[in-house]
Every structure is written in C-alpha cells, then in structure tokens.
Symmetry: D2
Subunit: 347 residues, 4 copies
C-alpha cells in the first residue's frame, strides 16, 4: 500500500513532538517534512533524542515555507502552530493542493466575530471558516472524511463535548445548568521557557486559571449549541495539576423534567458503545488519566445524584493524544479512507 | 507561662504526625502523651526519623488507655482516630476532666440520623452530639472557646464552607445551585498500605472518586444550611491528584436576583479581611496550594461570570493543616485563651 | 505469517502488565494465555482498564497450571514471577515442549552456591542452570537464539553490564575499581501494598537502599567476570527516586595503565554503533530517563576525568522495558528468527 | 532581647525566599531590608503570596544599594546573589560596617587561581579571600563566630564534606578513592525561566550533569584536603531528580590499611553525636531526603562492604536548608552569640 506523504508544520513543541511520534510509527504514512524555524537543518533525532535510531527520524527540520513543503510531495499537512499564525500557512498549503489538519484554534469557530471576541484580534482568514470542519471524528466523521481543511479540537473541548453531545441531542439535560471543571497536565501549557511553568512552581501545586472565560469556551459552546439546537452558555473552570499529560473533566448538569437517569447510560451506550476510541466505564465508575495517557482513548464514567437531580459526567483523555495529536491522526485516517485505528493501536 | 499539658491519641498517621509537628513546636504546649497501638514503647523520634533530635521527641508512644492518658496530667487531648473509634475514647477522656478536640467525623453532625445515613452505622455516642461544637474558628470562635468537646472539621468541608458561609448569610447565592469540585493531595487518603495508594498508581494520575455522596457532604450541608437558614443540598465531587498535601476547591453558585457581583468581594472582605488565617486574594485571583502547604492559611479567590450569572469561588488550603491539624490547634488556642496565632506562625 | 502462540505466567504485576502491552501489540505474536491467581476468570481489560477495547484484551486470566497453559498451544512462555517460584513452573513448561523466557532471578546465575548466598535458599532447579542462557541480546545473541530457557536479566544489571562489557573485554578498565550508583523509578519495587511504597512516602523523597549487597550484585559480577576474564567484585548502590519508570546508572572505573580515553569511545562505537537498541550519546553527553521510557533503548554517555584517571559511564533505560519486558521480547524475536525490532518499534 | 537588624541582598530566588522564610520567623532577628532589582517597591508578601499575612512581610523590596542597605541600620547582610556579583557588594557592605554572610561561591575558595580555573574569570576581590571563613559550622564554628565575612558552603559540598571530614582527619580513608554521587532536587538549579527546567522536562526524568568537573568540586576538594592534610582529588557526579528540594549523596571510599570498619561509626559518633544538626542514623541505615526537607538537619548513614573494603557514606539534607539558607542562619547565630538552634527549631 502506498504511504501517504505527510508534513508537520511546527513540529518542535509538545504537540508537534507527539505528532512526530505518531506519524513516524504510522504504517500508512511517510513523513516527508517537519518544520521548525529554530531547528532548521537539524535531524529530528538530534533535536529529540527520544527519536534517535527510530526509522525516519534522520529527516532534517526545514523552514515552514509552503513551496518547499509542497515540493516534498506532501499530500497532507498537520499544523501545530500558534493561533493566528496557522491560518496563513493553511491557506498557502490549501492553494498548493494539500489537505490541511490544523491543530490550532484558527478554524474551529464558525463565526469570525466569536473568534475576535475570544482571541482578541480579527480572524486572519474568515473566508475559510465555512469550509473548515470541526474535527471531532465521533461527532462529524462523514464531514471530516470529505474535508479539505480540518480544525482539530482543543484538549479541554474534546473532554467536555464528547460526553455531553449525545445527551444534549437526546434532550436529557438542561443546557443552562452545565458546569465543567477540568484538570490538565502541564504539557497543555506548551513547551516554553516561562517561569510559572518551571518544575518547582508546578510540582506540589494545583490551581485554577483562566476563569471565567477561557478561550476554549468559544468552541465548546459552539459545539454544544449545535447539539442542543439552541444557544448554550456554560461555566468552564480549567485547573493545572502536576502531571505531564492527561486531562480529567467533571461536568455536572441537571436532568430535564421527564428525563430518567437510566436514559443517560442507554444513550451513551447507543452512541459510543461500538466506537473505537470511546470507552464507557459505566455508571459509578470514575475514569483515571493514567489509563489513557499516550492513547487516543477517551474514558467516560457517569453517575446520577437523585438528591440534586444532577448528572455527573467524568471523562479522561491524554491532552496531547485524544486532545491533540492522535485525534488529528484519526482525521487523517478518515480523510484517506484508512482503517480508523491505523497507527493508533498503541496502549 | 505555664505550658498546657497535651495528648495526641492516634498519632501515627499523617494527621497525627502533623499534630506532633505542631505541638512539639508550640510555645505554650507541653506534649505529655502520644498514643499508638503499633508503636507502643518506641520514641516518637524512632518512629518518625523526621523528629530525631527535636526537643520533646524522645517521648515514647503509649497505648490509648484513658486512665494512663489522664495520669500524664493532660488537660486536653487531640483525637486523630478513625470515625466510630473516636467517640468512645472521647467520652472516657471527657469523664476524666480533659477537653477533647476530635479530628474524626464522630461529633461533627448534630443529627445522629444523618450520621447513620452517611457513615453506615448508628452513632456511638449520640448524647454528646448536642454539646459538641463544630470547630471552624472563623465561624464559631466563641462557642469553641467555651467548649469541652470540639469536632474539628474535615479538609474538604473547610475548603468549601469557609468561602460560602458569609455569602449565604448575606443572602447573595442561590443555595440550590452550589456545586463544589475539590482536588486533594494523596495524604488525605491516610497512611495505609493500600494498593490504590502506591506511588505508581497515583503519580501521573488524576481521578474523581466518592461520587455522588461522599461522607463529608453531610457536614458541609449541615453548616451551609445553618448559614443559609434553610436546607441546602449541594453537589460535591472530590478528586485525587498527585501531590502530597493540599486541597484546591472550586465552587460555583448562581447569584440571587438583585444581588450584585460587587457584594461578593465586599462581604468576604468585611468578614474575613481582618482574620489571621483567611487570605483574600481578590477578584480574578486563583489560589495555589503551594502557597498554603504547611500553614494554617486558607487562600480564597473569586470571580463573577456575567454570562452565566455565576460566582466562581476558589480556595486552597493544606489538607493536613487548615484542613486538619493546624485548624485543631487553632481551637486549642481559643479554648485556652492563647494568642490566635500561637504555634501557627510558620510559613 | 503465522503468529507465535505465547503465554505470560504471572501477568498481574508491573512487569506482567508491560509484557501484556508489548505482546498484545506484537505483530507476530498471538497471546493465548495470561495467568494470575487473584484475577482468574477476569478479562485482561477488566483488570487493566488501560487495555479496554484493545484487540486481544478480552482474554481471561487463567490459573498458572502447566497443563492448561500447554493446552492453549503456547509455544513460548514468559515468566514474570517471584524468584523461587519461577523455577518450578519453568521446568514444567519445558517438559511440555515450551520455550521459556524467565524474567525472575532463578536462572540468571551459573552457580547454585552463589544463588543460595544471595537469595537465602537452595536453588530450586540447579540441574537447569547449565542450560539457561543469560538473556542479554547485545552480549549473547547467538546463544539466546538457540536457547530453550532464557534468563532475562534484571533492570539494574542491564544498565550496569552493557556499558562495561565491551570495555572490560578490551582490557581498558581496572575491574577492582568499578563502582555503580543507580537511581530507579518506583515501579522497580513491584506492585504491592507496602506502606513504604505509598505515594506520600515516595514522592518528594530520594534514598539509597539495599546496601552493600543487593541481590542483583550476583548476576552483575558474574557477567562482568566473564567479560574481564577474571573475578570481578564491584560496589553497587541502588537508590529509589520518585518517577514511575526509568533507571539511570552512573558507573566509575579507573583506566588501566596504557589505556587511552579515546579508546573508550572507539570501543563502544565498534561494538554498539550498529546495534538497534543501544544508543551512544557520545563523550560528554548525559542520558536522561525520559528519552527511554516505554522503549527498548538503552542510552549510554561517557566522559573521562584526567584529574582522577577515571571513566564515568552513564546509562539510562526503562526498568520495565529494556530492564525487563521489552528485553525479554528481544529474546523472543531472536529465538523465533523474527526481525530484531519486531514489536519493539515504539518511541 | 534586642533583635538583630538583618538584610537579605538578592531575595527573589529560591535561596532568597528560604532566607526570607527563616528570618521572618527568627525570634532574634528583625528583617530590615530585602533587595530585588525586578521587584523593587513591591512588598515581600505581594511577590511571594506565601508570605501574605505573615508578620514583617509587608516590607517592600529595595534596590541592592549599599548605602541604602546600611541606612536601614542592618548589622548583617545575607547575600543570595550569583557568583561574581556578590563580591563587589560584599566589599561595599563590609566597608559600611556590616557583617556579611555570602551564599555565593565568591569567597569559598582560598585560592584566587582555583577560583579562576573553576569559574572562568579572575576573582573579583582576591584581597578578601584570606579573611573569609568557609561557613561550615560543624567544622569551623569558632572561626565563624569571630568572622566578619562568612562564605556559606554550597549544597553539594555540605552533603559531601560533612560525612568525610572526621574520617579523613582520623586517617581512616584513602583520599584518592573518594567518589561522590549526588542527587539533587530541581530548586538547586535556581528560579529561572529555562526550557530545561520546565515541569515536563524534569518530571519523570533523572539525569547526571556537569561531569566531570562541576564548579563545586573546587570547594569540596579544598575542604577535604585540609581535613586530610594532603591534596585530595575526587570524582563527583551530580544528578537532577524530580523533587522540589533535597539532596541525597552517596560517597564511597576505600578503608586505609589497618583501619577498621568499627572506627567509622565510632569517629562519626564522637564528632557529631552531640551536635544539634547532624543526625547519625547508624550503620546500615539509609537517609531519606523527606526527613530533612525544610530543616537544618543533615542525616548521615553508613555501611561497610568487606567484599570491596569500601565504606559507603550516605547523607541527606535540604539543598535550600542545610545546603543553603538555614546553614547560613546557623552562622548568624554563631556570629551573634545566639543559641545554636535559634530560629532553626522547625521540623
């Protein structure tokens, strides 16, 4: 089988490194380009000693030049760039005939106005928003398969949206009562020399941040609104905890009048029971990040509290895996008609 | 100044160890007894190498025999025992004229029926419930000062109750909308050889547990109901995160009609601004456990989200400090008329 | 290609779990049996939620009965059992025609007397010692390929022996000056409910242990003696540090008269430069455990100190990977004539 | 009792923060000045939320101006500055009549040539070297008490020198055989925004660094040479491990001909048995960093290996405590004739 020639643009951060790991191992992918301004000319394996003696890791980093990327024959490019920067190179690569799977926030919102509200500057490529597909494979698999431009979701949104969507679609929850508390590993903050991220500032520490209006709220509310068929506004409180990777999210919502607790489990099972990367732990079980790190799984548990009439949904995923890199690879598999689990069968 | 002769019953766990640390250093306390069945006859410093060459730590552990404890001349005893066990020895010590500061759950609830509902067995000493004072010094300082039997609060309840009480008293919050998510260090689970607590099971892991009806809910709801003047039922979701000590709690609640966000900060400031161990970080600031570990401080931050009309309250404390040991010492200071900060001025 | 029917005996500990992970993913292996007395009848995925929805993980645990294992058609069995227990089942499986790759210490020593000296009881199967091959593929590849019984080395020995063997063979080091200091992650202590292993006892802690005569010294000295052609006695000091997995070992030795520092790098390069799983970082580079966790690589760096005439050798490996599970799979690949990297190409 | 007016120059790093903690709590100290260029004008408690509501922590940071410091009436200044910078301000403060306790490396070496060899630039104040006293209170208590300028030792040197000095003085060890392996917490690397220090790069990682000629070797060898009465050259290999604070050091050395293992324990006991801050764990016991963090203790264990004729010395200390801040306070107590344990009786 012919391998898909693939590029990673912005491969020197934590998400980029995870994409490298996944694509170097993917049986149907040939990594033909990886870009990094700082590391240009150095082999992947020189920059990341972890990849030394790994097949394909002698590839040198190149500059993020669209023509040069296209010249490698790449059919698809993953973008692991800051928001605002990704849009421009996405357009350039699309114009050169590549498919683009963008892991930044640039194409996740349908509304350029919402983008400007949450990100503080005008959208850099509003004309592409209509075409972009929000890349949650469990929710929008068909659209992803047909897409030229996929906006792969953020880590927090994935952990919040997936448990809620089937329940909102089934009209079981009061949308206005949704409150999500997430705890994320430090890799979610990116690989940057920031004093607040050094070991002694994060170890033996836990704290909320980004309240009350974290940027990812915008895509969360967009997707929940679509599922609910009405505008949904929620509370979202992210926290930083001292683990390298992993997110655990606890979401509470009030059951609608007439909805039964039993329906929660039934609907989740109907929608996700047969899906490859969603694991339902069942009522009363609490997911643990350690079971999902370095995988593409999201584990979901739930319970109902009759005292408050609230459902408690709990999910765990790897913020660099299902929350970033491996979820983007899931989209690649859909776009190119590969087995859904190709390159993602690690545990 | 005469030192207060003090005993610790059940001094070999994490809470007991923290009490040892605090009382060995307390300038107005003489530690005359520390009990442990397993360690009987061994010096504190032999069991806890950390206390080697510390003044007073050559005291040998004794059996938890009430007569023997009374014979040491102890005027007050701290109980760091499992619930169900503490009540009996509390009674015996009270009968022998000691004051008792109990860190178990045995005397925290006013209702024996609620105790049985949450703890699964009949209350072991229901006749003492009326006399016991729930030992939150910031809320019940006068009663504690006059008490013979103090029920020192649990770690989760302290972190949830303190931020809420002034706001409920001021009628600013809708009690039925309160949802508390807490993240606790592993020492909160106690010092026991449990497979789920070994390093590799907790490190690089985060998970909810004990949903939806954790035992501490009972005392939380009791205290919030008193503050609100009505029955309060809340959602409480505890999580375990890989730190030794510390709890961070995020509580959301809807503002009552007519209440203003400004009132939140004002009320907190009026009530807590001058208190020794509550530190208000101000609007928009998020407390971090690393600033409170090994202290008796609770740090409180808050923010208001006009999009949802919800207040977000965030608190951080040391689960073994303000959440257990040092808070109990605060009660000791009140009972014996000491400076409120005596023995608690560490940072 | 026909898959090799494979069994894991003792699959519920950390090493067993790592073997499960590797063998479930191995392209040329079919896992037909996994044993655990405690978990008998439960599916692998039920015991280890990490393996849920992983192909092959619905296999139920069975009892470690040799006849039952043989009845599955298994051609080879990995033993992840305590020393003393492994020998008996190894014999039974050999008698039933299986190859055995034993990860315990039972067959690592050539001398039953040395075994008794270090392990405190007579060897349980001394007649099998002559046949057993010490399973260090980089040192004894040919013998492993022909073996019926492989004694897969311990984690500390691998990290100490591999850097030293070529240098001792080349007569560059004074054997009597060898001192090895190792730091190991907590998983090396096994999955057991031991108070000294709980999170709060290991986190924010570092300590030596097992001095001066750790059991693994016996196999280390045996292998170094073979390489040196003379009896070698060394100092070995293991330490426990708060990471889940990984060992870093620092070994010092005095250069022999007439030996040159340049020869160190040259010899290492000649012997290991082309090997799949040894990565030479070069002079002056220090290996980091985080680059080798969950891989079969051992990273080796070195430096020479002219002030003391000592070579400093540094190695890093995953104690559950190259130090246990994946190294054992390397032996499987040799025995069955597979690609050396089959099933081991993860990063 | 009059409090000693004290200044901290360079109080915004980890060592500075530890000094702040210690001096704010010291019963005989009044903190009158703390300097930081970046934080000038901000209160200590604003920069370090941990010190909020702590007595004395409303002091604002000032610029490190010698005249301004002297104008506060300070009698003594602690310098927690980078090497090369400390010397100049030390001289200026000495000229203004202050005592100086310098925690940098600037005055630790007796030889300006050795300083230049190890630190790469000429010594900034060679005329002060003769006067400076190497501030190891257990070794040089009398000289410290009479000193105007104390060079407080580094963290690694303290952990290596203290166990060795009595044994070298007693002529029990072969100096040329000394090899020290140390593992340090990340705070030892300082509080700086360095990519190699961010959480995800240090967590789940262990690595050697700085081989073979770490800067601290110079002061270690100087002090060991004085104790041995001959030039001593050793091997020293530092490692970084993922804990906030703490150093554990393992030192091996060959016993001299005619020396007995029993003498090791006897000599250590004679010299250190009655000292306040050295705790001898006895033969066969291994010190653990978790017992010494946030204290001024150094714990020492040892064992003898008759197979190799080597002594294994193990020590544990807090790199910010006995290895930096609290050891400097020990010198303060000596200089001003206070109780040796004043302000250091925490556990």
């Amino acid at each position: 089988m012919k391998r898909i020639k693939t590029a990673i643009v912005g491969a020197s951060g934590y998400t980029g490194q995870e994409l490298l790991r996944l694509l170097l191992l993917h049986p149907h992918v040939e990594l033909v380009a990886a870009t990094s301004r700082q590391e240009e000319g150095r082999a992947l394996s020189a920059v990341f000693p972890r990849f030394s003696k790994v097949d394909g890791a002698d590839l040198p980093f190149m500059l993020p030049d669209p023509d040069a990327i296209a010249a490698t024959g790449a059919e698809v490019a993953f973008l692991a760039l800051p928001h605002g920067v990704a849009a421009e190179i996405a357009r350039a690569l699309l114009e050169r005939g590549l498919k683009v799977i963008d892991l930044s926030a640039d194409f996740r919102l349908r509304s350029a106005a919402t983008y400007e509200e949450f990100y503080g500057h005008p959208h850099p490529a509003p004309d592409l928003l209509e075409e972009a597909v929000y890349g949650l494979p469990e929710v929008r698999g068909e659209a992803i398969a047909a897409a030229r431009l996929v906006a792969s979701p953020g880590c927090y949104p994935t952990s919040i949206i997936l448990p809620l969507v089937p329940l909102l679609k089934a009209d079981l929850l009061e949308p206005s009562t949704i409150i999500a508390n997430s705890m994320s590993g430090v890799s979610g903050a990116g690989k940057k020399a920031d004093l607040s991220l050094i070991f002694c500032e994060c170890n033996e520490s836990a704290r909320a941040y980004g309240v009350p209006k974290h940027r990812h709220l915008s895509e969360i509310e967009q997707e929940l609104s679509i599922a609910a068929g009405e505008d949904v506004t929620i509370s979202f409180i992210p926290h930083l905890i001292p683990v390298n990777a992993g997110i655990v999210t606890t979401t509470t919502a009030t059951l609608k009048d007439g909805a039964s607790a039993e329906a929660i489990g039934r609907v989740l099972d109907e929608v996700y029971g047969a899906m490859d990367f969603v694991r339902l732990l069942g009522e009363g079980s609490c997911p643990d990040t350690k079971n999902v790190t370095r995988t593409n799984f999201i584990d979901i548990g739930w319970t109902f509290d009759p005292r408050t009439n609230r459902v408690i949904l709990m999910s765990a995923e790897d913020n660099l895996g299902k929350g970033a890199g491996s979820q983007a690879v899931q989209s690649l598999n859909l776009i190119f008609g590969l087995e859904p689990t190709a390159g993602l069968q690690f545990v």
